[in-house]
Symmetry: D2
Subunit: 292 residues, 4 copies
């Protein structure tokens, strides 16, 4: 999909800078933008301490003919930030990130993302959906999105399934969303993939880590259930949390009803996390996230 862009975001750039805090960082960074003809329209900054803490910043700026100027701005930033040891990235907001979705049989998160995308609510392209079941193929394709069926294999052949998925994703996507994908991904897969992976867990982590959280919530007799969107790491259910939400339940709700109430929270939490990630609003730091 080369050439595809988001018209309303033409000539808008997003700059993320983070690292050890030092006096003067903000004025140096913003001076770069000014001398390159940019006008800052939104700026969020957060430092963990008054002095010697960690520094996080997201800047959105407008620059006429941004495409032509990108190279110069990048060079200026590189030179200016070199002495500070900061991590930074500059992106053209009119160029949407490419998002692949991995799914299984449950369709609520998958369809919700496809709907929102069609309605123009998610600034991404969706080059593919990959599922270990073929049940949602027709639905997915009705949105004009390619669907690939890669059956899951157990034990030693699991590696084979992962290789097949890797072949599809590698080089074609900027991030991956697990929309209730019911397979655990190996460390090896995550490392080879090399792009962020967002998962939706069907409980308000760290409660009910692991399998079948709605049944366990019912058994414990909780009065609220929830969902958690987080980046996937080698430690299952332990990655940095991006977004969470909860909903009230009562003694009269069966496990099935908890699942239905929960499905609504899941799709809503996941869509917010995806939208924020797509807009470069989420910065990872250790096992935390900064969400601007």
């Amino acid at each position: 999909m080369p050439g595809l862009s988001i018209p309303s975001l033409v000539d808008q750039a997003c700059l993320i800078v983070h690292g050890p805090d030092q006096p003067g960082i903000v004025s140096h960074v913003t001076a770069v933008i000014t001398r390159n003809g940019g006008n800052i329209t939104a700026l969020d900054q957060y430092s963990t301490n008054d002095q010697d803490g960690m520094f996080f910043q997201r800047i959105v700026f407008y620059r006429a003919n941004l495409t032509a100027a990108m190279e110069d701005i990048q060079a200026d930033l590189a030179e200016t930030l070199a002495p500070y040891g900061m991590t930074w990235s500059l992106s053209d907001r009119s160029q949407p990130k490419r998002m692949a979705i991995l799914a299984s049989k449950e369709d609520h998160c998958l369809l919700d993302l496809l709907w929102r995308h069609r309605r123009g609510e998610l600034p991404v392209t969706i080059p593919m959906v990959v599922s270990n079941h073929s049940t949602t193929a027709e639905d997915v394709r009705s949105f004009g999105v390619p669907f690939f069926h890669v059956p899951s294999q157990k034990g030693p052949d699991k590696r084979e399934s992962e290789e097949a998925i890797l072949k599809l994703l590698k080089g074609n996507v900027d991030f991956v969303v697990l929309a209730r994908y019911m397979q655990v991904l190996s460390d090896d897969f995550l490392q080879k993939l090399g792009v962020p992976v967002i998962n939706i867990h069907h409980s308000f982590l760290p409660a009910f880590i692991g399998a079948d959280p709605y049944r366990r919530a019912w058994e414990r007799g909780v009065k609220i259930i929830g969902a958690t969107a987080h980046y996937v790491t080698a430690d299952l259910d332990e990655g940095p949390i991006i977004e969470q939400d909860t909903v009230r339940v009562t003694h009269a709700d069966s496990v099935t009803e908890l699942r239905q109430r929960g499905a609504e929270v899941e799709r809503s939490v996941l869509s917010r996390a995806v939208s924020w990630h797509a807009q470069d609003r989420v910065i990872r730091t250790g096992n935390h996230t900064i969400v601007f």
Copy 2:
């Protein structure tokens, strides 16, 4: 405080019935009320299954000159329900339950309960506040409530403190509220006390069971924090949950700010749990609660 009653609830009774479900229970119970001159104003019923499940019911009814009729109604209920093996209790709603509060240094839950009581929002009397610190004595007494200071003792002398508290409570209260009371009560104490004890835990259980939940929430990087009101059992933080609620937090909130945000949820969750318990809206069953 004999003779003290709630004028607006005069001639109102509350009947709780629960046990193994059997056809005809509802019509037999309601027939008792009708033939004793009562008019049902609210009825909540819940059965766990279509057949052979557990049955839970709360009935509020109006009966002119209730006091005079109580004995007859009790006798009729006893006879009618005898064949069914149900647990039941009948109470005069104009007679408030006697609630003791145990507190420590933190005053937000304590003061909130006292203030709601003064405003007429809690249908209870408060015969005493017992604290292991004397810091809140003046505040408590300014509400016209007796305050007793029983310092906590460690190790073998802990028993002594508990005995002192028991002497104060025994026979004088219908239930006890731990308003951020920072001592673990022994099984022995709970058994001797013999009335329900409600605790407020400063996390959305079962997440962050144990000490210092706000610090651990901050370390995990959660986006919501919460509070849980539950009945106290021998298993710490594992008793039946009465009520829970949550509030959103962000990366910018420090542990101190989590504590402040959390304090608001704690007092609000605890007051709801206390109010429901005082109105006989909560029925315990195993490790769950039915809240009507």
Copy 3:
């Protein structure tokens, strides 16, 4: 779709009774159920006053071979309730209500209802979707639901459009849902239709009654927006409210973003209202609703 039924609800009945409160109503009604072999699994009752108020009751009961027994139970109820002047209705829960959806261009509420229905979350059948635009035809039909396009006409010809819709609905549906249907229905239409109509209004009524509520919310600078599901009456936006909910917004949200945030609340509020109506949980009284 004759013969279509909900297997999990076979042999379950729902009885709604409401009218002027009188002592003994509950025991008489429940006695009918008992002597006809039913077992009550859920009962909600609410009276507006201790005495001489209005009485509202919903009972769910299980009765083996319900179909065969329906006629007898109806007769018994009719005879028993005759002296009391109550309104009542008895329904077989395994027989889903027939729900038509009227829609326009906006698809979020429409698709959400269709998708929840497919997942088994709404106990209804959907015999048809009628729209004044043809844009959603393909999507609707992909759910196996018939789609009819009836273009809207202005002025004197509006009557003609309404007649065309009436011909489609009349006799074929038990209630109608306006899923962001952007036409005002005439009194004449509502009277001829003769079944309940549920609308979703895109504000927390009574704020922003009328057109373009998101723009007006933005202009007023509110910090929350919401949605309201209500029964449609001759007074636009004034019918009995079934359900409402709100969501937080900020100064940074544009009108477009308010619409997106609001769309999520709309579909969620509408689906709850529809689900409750389908389960006979909503009783209308004057311009209010009782929701059990």
Copy 4:
């Protein structure tokens, strides 16, 4: 209370800048901070448009020996910002704003502010509470806060009451909070007072503007109620909204219960608005607020 300061905020400054957006503003402003030895710890910026919009910015920075440097920083800012026509203000965060509270009989908002202040949650001093009733005098004074009773007078003598209040407030306070103060303040009073006034309205404005909103909410049969904190202007209930929140209610809630549920939302909404105003997080623009 000269010399009183907040130790944890020593050497922290807050700079607010707003006005017509122009390229380079951010880098010029931040350069001032850098060359005066400050380190920015939090920065929020929002512009209404890519170009030629309105610009809003809040910067918190740390500067060792801030007190000694304030004059130089002010002079540098004045010179730097002179060409841009911006409104700006620089404050020493260790110097709390002086907040007066005006109250009537209802004590929930009043006591909540006093409690929070005593717990260290509100960065203000409270030089006085003024009430048109004497009922809360003892409670207020138990917090060590001066209480003044100024009875309300009707008709032509209303001016007299206002003059008496003005004499107390004038020069002694930085802002005023109406904690359920049940008198309408005249334009003349507001103009003479000359500092911001924050009110808590007991509905989710613009619904139920005017008197007795809970009764009207009950009559309309709404399923949510709410509260709104706003700056007071000459147009009653029409000033810029700072914060709002809502809570669910049901058909079973009486007007009295709506008032009790609402009281909880009121105090919580008001405390957030007060806290944000005290921290210079709220910028007024036309009839809107920017809340950072």
